[in-house]
């Protein structure tokens, strides 16, 4: 049997104080906002993503 460590907190308790976890939790609770955020993320990936589709075949120098 594992003895409880004095002063230890559960994962949930530890994360409850984490601002990132709370922000993400709030986002998950609002599907409309999450949809918009995902949309903006997709647009950003398309616009700011690296060009991997080079069609440039002309090699002058």
């Amino acid at each position: 049997m594992i003895e409880p460590v004095p002063g230890a907190v559960s994962v949930e308790e530890a994360l409850a104080d984490d601002p990132m976890y709370r922000a993400f939790g709030r986002l998950l609770a609002r599907p409309l906002v999450l949809g918009v955020v995902l949309f903006l993320l997709v647009i950003a990936i398309i616009v700011f993503g690296p060009s991997t589709e080079s069609r440039f075949i002309y090699t002058d120098f």
Binding site: L28, A29, P31, L32, L34, G35, V36, L38, F39, V42, I43, I46, V47, F48, G49, P50, S51, E53, S54, R55, F56, I57, Y58, T59, D60, F61
Partner: protein, 334 residues
């Protein structure tokens, strides 16, 4: 199960927003002054469909010389003609060559484009088998016009076999159904004036630090860079570029389209050691004769430009583009 309903709503919002963006792109995506460096098949398709709806106009088809290498889109010769009121479109692109001329003509005619005039440039360096566009169709053009080639024509070209990877299949599906994805390379270049944001940031830093100016100064074209660029072997029927040039002019003649060929301005001062030989003159004369025999009007600009009007072997400076526009304006006005 409780988590599925919000997740479904999230995905619905995402799909609705992406669909709305695609409708907006389909309606408002701009037509550029010329093709981007890295234009997509989707952009080319939009351009061809737009041309099919418009009244006949002069279409300029060719390589980077007509495209306007290293000058702003508005500074290219064709843009200057357009600014002067000539109904024209610049369909030249980097990597143009006779086979690309033929492919683009086939594509346009198959889509119902009927130009009033086709102006194309004939560049002697593209008759060299060493040229990167000698037997290669630009990938975006090939995606649309590849099926229009006969098996015999395809046999003359460099073929990349059908790609069967999952990545390629996914890319094809996304390109077919998602305009934002299909036009991403054109969109990035329109926003950043570079192939992507990283290159734009790099260019900004290089310009700011002066490294770009120093690099340009250190890389002035020298004659030695063009050794082997021009093939002075006598042009014969085996030459792939010559075959596709002949196919192109037969096609134009069959369609009764006014055709003007520009023998590309060439920097003889720079290339003197490599091209100022009877063989070069003989190949140029042969090309000219073949064009004229087929009813193509020829503008011989091979020696018409001063060395100061060139950036390198054949690409023109801003002043060179102005000179070219003036020559073409006179010819097209007749």
């Amino acid at each position: 199960m409780r988590a599925l309903a919000p997740l479904g709503l999230t995905m619905l919002v995402l799909v609705v927003l992406l669909s709305a963006t695609d409708v907006a792109i389909g309606t408002w995506f701009p037509r550029f002054e010329r093709f981007s460096d890295n234009f997509s098949a989707a952009y080319l398709e939009r351009e061809v469909h737009a041309l099919a709806r418009e009244s006949p106009q002069a279409l300029f088809i060719g390589d980077s010389v007509l495209w306007g290498y290293k000058v702003r889109p508005s500074q290219s010769a064709v843009s200057l003609l357009r600014a002067g009121g000539l109904p024209a479109r610049n369909l030249a692109f980097q990597g143009g060559s006779p086979v690309n001329l033929y492919a683009l003509l086939r594509l346009m005619l198959s889509e119902g484009v009927h130009p009033s005039t086709v102006v194309f440039n004939v560049n002697q360096k593209e008759f060299s088998p060493a040229d990167s566009a000698y037997r290669t169709v630009h990938p975006s053009l090939n995606a649309l016009a590849g099926s229009l080639f006969t098996p015999g024509e395809r046999g003359l070209l460099d073929q990349t076999g059908p790609q069967r990877s999952f990545e390629h299949a996914l890319d094809s599906e996304m390109t077919a159904h998602w305009k934002l994805y299909a036009l991403r390379s054109d969109l990035r270049e329109a926003i950043f004036d570079q192939v992507d944001a990283v290159h734009a940031a790099d260019d900004f830093v290089q310009t700011l630090s002066g490294a770009k100016a120093r690099g340009d100064a250190a890389h002035r074209p020298t004659a030695a860079q063009f050794e082997g660029t021009y093939d002075l072997s006598p042009l014969d029927e085996q030459n792939v570029s010559l075959q596709f040039l002949l196919k192109s002019i037969r096609l134009l003649r069959h369609e009764r389209i006014r055709s003007i060929a520009i023998l590309t301005p060439t920097n003889h001062a720079l290339l003197h050691d490599y091209i100022d030989a009877p063989e070069y003159r003989s190949n140029l004369a042969r090309t000219r004769a073949l064009l004229e025999q087929s009813g193509v009007q020829v503008i011989d600009l091979d020696r018409a430009f001063a060395p100061a009007e060139f950036l390198d072997n054949d690409h023109l400076t801003i002043a060179g583009n102005r000179h070219l526009a003036a020559v073409l304006r006179n010819v097209l006005a007749r």
